[in-house]
Symmetry: D2
Subunit: 284 residues, 4 copies
């Protein structure tokens, strides 16, 4: 996948569905394998334009707290998230938020399974008596992470993610100039602020790059997964992260590119530094 | 202080001291304010050449575990160290090692004070009965830090410090090309592997640079101290440190230099990356 | 529930099921609400005696690592466990172990749901590609807990649980002598080594006892749950636990019993101490 | 030492010193080897009664935050304390507080040593330039411990120490009834609220008791030190401590006394529980 979901295509597909067989549109806000960000507000508008009654469900695991997500304004019916990315808590917790339309649909759902059944879960008594032992240490961690986020301010956190992602994209832009690498996501506006996926060209295998970064610098990069297995690597830039952390990571990647003789390997980090200096000018 | 101690000057001074009034030569291996490294072996040779019987005492607080220190081979009589630098443990512990000549001199010392008196300390019984409560949590931390060091191997730790220091010096070398900055220590061979002190020229005040790094990037640099107050800043590169940490730090400094319009601010990190890539080539 | 499952009743019930409508016998080894321990080996023998082909499934959440569980020897087909009790890890992980007969039955199961489907889970490729982010911090914690257990030795851990449970039962035995309290589980042999549930008689409400222990001593006791709500309290004695911890807990309960004027409140802890001293005699 | 300092003896000794050769009276508020508490206010009154101008210096290492210490009201001129007892921080920090008379005496002191010289220390510039690296992790720990203390309230902390110490003394009182043990400090009012020292009679060696507690229960008791070596053991009850912790400790000791056949070994913990229940009655 190298492109964001096209809202026009969603609209066209829904218009075809006269019989209403489509029950829900599922969309991931940021897909952490491809590095794409989808425009959920635009998909909502496309659904409205088609006049189709499907539910809108969003996976915000890879985006929550790194960019705006307006469940009410965009009329998202169900959202799922997890603790381990923008929420800065170890993996192990996931969350479901459901709006009125989703709850109403649930009342008539014909495929409930016991573990996931909202009815059973949505009750204090039930919860206390049958839900088992909650993962309370994870909850304590999440509470502290949320305190950190709210102390920073969500808008500041969004801006921080955007500026750090810009720095990464500046570096990758330079490294790409001689064609050895390229962004997996073609359109600049469709590149996520939480992760960047980078394709290797000319049949290069990312394994040696990942190995170099791990063994020589201690930096563990994401592998390409699914159809990108063996073709890409990923730089995550979400969560508890600041400029020196991202510059250190980019520095490790550039070390690897230089050491592995990638054409056009130099200059990426310098461009990232320039981008960050512009976005964080000195206060007079 | 912009130079290492000159062994020839030590030799000359000792030759003048026919009366033997000089009881000891005190030398710091790495001075963390100036960033100088002194050549203790050469000072030992100078003392030998002068035929003077003074004790040789070394302060290795800022150097131990970051570079070789051969107490026996160099016949250092007393060495003092601390927990908080190359030994990677919180500050709070210091150490004294004394050789036979120092212990012998102590027997006749006329200026003992109760707290520091080696005789009282050098006894199991005394230690158990009168020494008070040892800082055992610090000792546990030190033990773990020593395990980390020995797992890495001292020679590897020395090499790591040297390569990371080289990367810092490459960056500072580039930043210095247009004269806005310069190394405090003039001779390249006298620059320490544990810390680099950088002078600002043209009357620039390091305060704005330190403030930028702290507030915009979270990186806290060392201030100039003593005669360098208001004239210098310091980049520490000792202890539990790797390439992305040092590149992140240098990246933060270069951000500040760019944002504060230092002439010749760019290119330092790129030079550091090239240096590290050379010293850590890809394994075929 | 005041009694363990009667294996004879299981046998009789299975003999009645000529049509084989019973697919599985589910048994909890230790039920942490009632404090009962069921004899799984005896249930296995009862199933064998009835010649019935039902699967035997065991919930060992509240017992694993506190007492023997012989999945192979007792031919248990499925076992489920959790991280947070005898395994001494924060809550958040659960485990399923399945034997050959269970796996075979699964092949023909007509009620698979996506999340729980073993087929999808039982594959390295599937696991890597679709399983999501594992709760690795919990797994690191579990690994360390297992190391602690294996260092102690499972037999030693079982013995420790038995002796500490004996101490608790000695204390409760004394407190029960004047009828204010009694064991929820009637038969001494059916009382679990991981938790003891205690009924309050004469209409006493455990709330004041729980409140006293919490507010005056910091000890948080388990409430009675399910049909024991408002009638019982529970003392847990499983996991990372030793003699002073259990004596401190019993001491807090006895403080509360004395302060709340329970008849026969004294002497329980003294009996627990005597029991522990007998089971841990001084080495000559 | 089995008795507190007698203020009348202090007064008499000072009256004899017509020449004023005594420069200071040094007193420890709680001596953690003997378990004595000295009455500093009474010693102050004795000094006043004698009309002698000696300084009053107090060691409050073992008492600060466990009982009142009124430096101003009692006109104590110098007080020394440490981090590791009532202040609930790892060992490694000590403190000196000096009043006006002590500072004035210091101006004319003829035995200053560089490390301890207050003049050098009592200056911001000096501190920043020459004092070295402060043990800041210890200071962070101390700050948190002080927050805990002030949240509890000093008066509450004093009361907590008194009640827990009373419980220990109740237990020791019972264990002593048949003469196998006795309090080291003879007068009940001279027994400290932070530690209790217990003598073994009839030539019994505390080593087997300490070994039993350590190996069988994990409780590490204090050894007798100085003149009590081989004759006594100590139960500390200061700092971050509550009722179940003290009852667990006493329970471990009573296990050892029973297992080692001390006459009159039982009943101590029961008395401690009764004492605590009286001092923490149930709220109606």
């Amino acid at each position: 996948m190298r492109h964001a979901i096209d809202p026009a295509a969603v609209e066209a597909r829904l218009r075809e569905d006269q019989a209403g067989t489509i029950k829900a549109v599922l969309v991931v806000q940021v897909d952490t394998s491809s590095g794409v960000v989808n425009d959920i507000a635009a998909i909502r508008r496309a659904m409205d334009a088609a006049g189709h009654g499907a539910l809108l469900m969003a996976d915000v695991v890879g985006s929550l707290a790194t960019m705006p997500f307006e469940m009410n304004e965009w009329r998202v019916d169900v959202a799922v998230a997890g603790s381990q990315k923008g929420l800065m808590t170890p993996p192990g917790l996931s969350f479901v938020a459901a709006g009125d339309r989703a709850v109403a649909a649930h009342q008539n759902a014909g495929l409930r399974t016991r573990y996931w059944d909202w009815t059973a879960r949505d009750s204090q008594i039930h919860y206390q008596q049958y839900c088992g032992t909650p993962p309370e240490h994870m909850l304590f961690g999440l509470r502290r992470a949320l305190e950190l986020l709210f102390e920073e301010g969500l808008d500041n956190a969004f801006r921080r993610h955007r500026l750090l992602a810009d720095a990464v994209r500046c570096a990758v832009g330079v490294w790409s100039q001689r064609g050895a690498l390229e962004f997996n996501i073609v359109a600049p506006t469709a590149r996520a602020n939480s992760v960047t996926t980078i394709l290797l060209n000319d049949g290069r295998d990312p394994a040696s790059l990942l190995k170099y970064c791990d063994e020589k610098t201690g930096v563990v990069l994401g592998r390409g997964i699914n159809e990108l297995t063996g073709k890409a690597f990923r730089i995550a830039h979400m969560g508890h992260l600041n400029a020196p952390m991202i510059l250190g990571t980019l520095g490790a990647v550039e070390m690897a590119l230089v050491a592995l003789d990638f054409p056009g390997a130099s200059g990426g980090v310098q461009a990232a530094i320039a981008s960050l200096a512009r976005s964080a000018p000195a206060t007079p």
